[in-house]
């Protein structure tokens, strides 16, 4: 594989990590966050600026960056998650807008809208990204299959009923939001490592929205669907870069195309492409059996 192809795969993997972060928040616990890009911003800038100015190893500053994101998520969650879901969506969105302007405001450190590019080169970045993607997917899968996942699905379908069975909805939501934001934060750092430059535009509101769109396209309750959608919807438009429509590269139209896909999904397949299905050996075996049965006839 050449560098270009490796780059595409890395981008897609980072997209998967971002979407899995949103999956935990939105699909498990039913909170519609529109500010996940903001957590990517916080951790990425934190990590690389600290690494540069204090000369600390990047692994340490990455942990600090993620911790900073987690703290911000906690502060937002405490007043907001007691209220109606709409507040959460609006506040996370406001938070995203605020983060972009903070980056511009602190131009002295962040280099403003031009972008911060003093990011050290990390050698095995490809394998780091692949490894972390696998880890994050495993993490989310384990979480979904644990008691926390069950309680989340319960509170998502019926908050009042969940409370009546001892699920501490408020606390669980806060924890889930913080964890999901940590994963977004991780995606932000990897994005910086891969591209060697971070700009406020790169982490705009559109990115937060794009991740939600990927998620719903793949399937509202399916981690498999979310991961596949996160990967493919990032990859396909990149490979179609040279195709033109109305004299404009198809790449430019990608958001429009995503949106049309989502409108189709909402209208015709409201649970996303995979709905609640998950990949497992058992479903695969089930598919085979069905095929055999059909052949047997």
């Amino acid at each position: 594989m050449n560098n270009y192809q490796l780059g595409l795969i890395m981008n897609s993997c980072i997209s998967v990590i971002g979407v899995v972060g949103v999956f935990i928040i939105t699909s498990l616990a039913g909170m519609f966050s529109l500010g996940q890009a903001a957590f990517m911003t916080i951790s990425a800038y934190f990590t690389f600026i600290l690494a540069k100015t204090l000369g600390l190893p990047i692994l340490l500053t990455a942990v600090m960056g993620i911790a900073a994101s987690a703290l911000c998520a906690y502060i937002i969650a405490v007043p907001t998650l007691k209220l109606r879901k709409d507040y959460f969506a609006l506040i996370t969105m406001g938070f995203g807008e605020m983060m972009s302007s903070i980056v511009i405001m602190l131009e002295k450190y962040t280099n403003g809208s031009i972008g911060y590019s003093r990011i050290p080169k990390v050698k095995p970045v490809f394998w780091i990204i692949i490894g972390l993607t696998a880890f994050v997917i495993f993490f989310a899968w384990s979480l979904k299959r644990s008691r926390f996942g069950r309680m989340c699905i319960a509170l998502k379908t019926d908050e009042t009923a969940a409370k009546s069975f001892g699920v501490d909805v408020y606390r669980l939501k806060i924890r889930i939001f913080v964890i999901g934001s940590c994963i977004s934060a991780l995606a932000g750092i990897l994005y910086g490592l891969k591209n060697r430059v971070i700009t406020p535009d790169g982490f705009s509101w559109n990115l937060s929205a794009e991740m939600q769109i990927f998620l719903f396209f793949g399937g509202t309750n399916s981690l498999t669907g979310a991961a596949i959608a996160g990967f493919m919807l990032k990859l396909i438009p990149e490979t179609l870069r040279t195709v033109k429509l109305f004299g404009v590269s198809l790449q430019e139209f990608r958001t429009v195309i995503y949106c049309i896909l989502i409108l189709l999904v909402i209208n015709f397949r409201p649970n996303g492409m995979l709905g609640e299905k998950e990949f497992s050996i058992r479903t695969l075996a089930g598919l085979f059996r069905r095929k055999e049965a059909r052949n047997g006839k």
């Binding site: 495993f138 993490f139 384990s142 979480l143 644990s146 008691r147 926390f148 069950r150 309680m151 699905i153 319960a154 998502k156 379908t157 019926d158 009042t160 009923a161 969940a162 409370k163 009546s164 069975f165 001892g166 699920v167 501490d168 909805v169 924890r175 964890i179 309750n221 609640e276």
Partner: protein, 258 residues
């Protein structure tokens, strides 16, 4: 004196909704091992009383004690963990989960492993998952629902869903179980099965205090030891079923003034 210990007790509970008194000075005392019925016409405030008991609403005035502990300032989650569970008038199972998982949710808050154990698949996770899985399955077996354990909860017929909902509430072995119109929406055959089912529960969980809201007199009469009759938020009669049945005030409320 063990028998006279009260598991649920409320004094002069009132509940206002913007000037409308949904519950007006309601008092009640419930001992373990009893079945109490709450009857009355629509809009008499029965469900509101249940909602106050399970802390979905905070009462406007009055006090509420659960197992000797004042719970006026406790929330829904806390009273649930203290041993008060309920079912809902319109069945509210968690649609994304299987029957077994629905029952497990009740136990999940008590499972002894944290998020780190969960994502790293540490032994404590395995052990606790096995424990609550077994306990949930035992309850389902006890209530003869184990054959549906893996089915999608909301794809079952209505009567079965109702029983799963009761199983979900029973799995923690609560002290008080509130049943809000368990026969609502069931056909006669299913009602018949439900009565049997509730009698079974009575035997299987001897310490349990059961509170039932119901419209169907046959069901109430065959189950309850004690009845409270509500009308327009007030208690108009209380006592043994046979006694209440021929109370003229009750007859008037049900059949209209003559």
């Amino acid at each position: 004196m063990e028998n006279s210990r009260l598991v649920l007790r409320c004094n002069d509970i009132c509940m206002d909704f913007g000037g409308v008194k949904a519950v007006d000075h309601f008092s009640m005392a419930v001992s373990p091992s009893t079945t109490t019925g709450l009857i009355g016409p629509n809009g008499a405030g029965k469900t509101t009383i249940f909602n106050v008991f399970s802390r979905i609403y905070r009462q406007t005035s009055g006090s509420l004690e659960l197992d000797g502990v004042n719970v006026d300032n406790r929330g829904q989650v806390e009273v649930a963990r203290m041993g008060l569970t309920r079912t809902f008038q319109n069945i509210r199972l968690f649609s994304g989960l299987s029957v077994l998982d629905n029952v497990k949710v009740s136990l999940d808050h008590s499972a002894g492993y944290n998020m780190l154990d969960a994502v790293l698949h540490l032994p404590s996770r395995q052990r606790e998952e096995r424990r609550i899985g077994q306990r949930a399955l035992d309850t389902l077996k006890l209530l003869k629902l184990d054959q549906y354990a893996q089915s999608h909860a909301t794809s079952l017929p209505y009567g079965l869903q109702r029983r799963v909902e009761i199983a979900r509430a029973l799995v923690t072995e609560p002290k008080v179980l509130l049943l809000d119109e368990p026969a609502a929406g069931l056909n006669p055959e299913e009602v018949f099965q439900l009565v049997d089912f509730l009698k079974q529960i009575r035997e299987l969980y001897p310490q349990l205090a059961l509170l039932v809201i119901e419209h169907r007199m046959d069901l109430i009469m065959s189950l309850c030891d004690c009845l409270y009759v509500q009308n327009f938020g007030r208690t108009i009669a209380q006592g043994k079923p046979a006694q209440v049945q021929c109370d003229p005030v009750v007859l008037a409320a049900y059949l209209g003034e003559e």
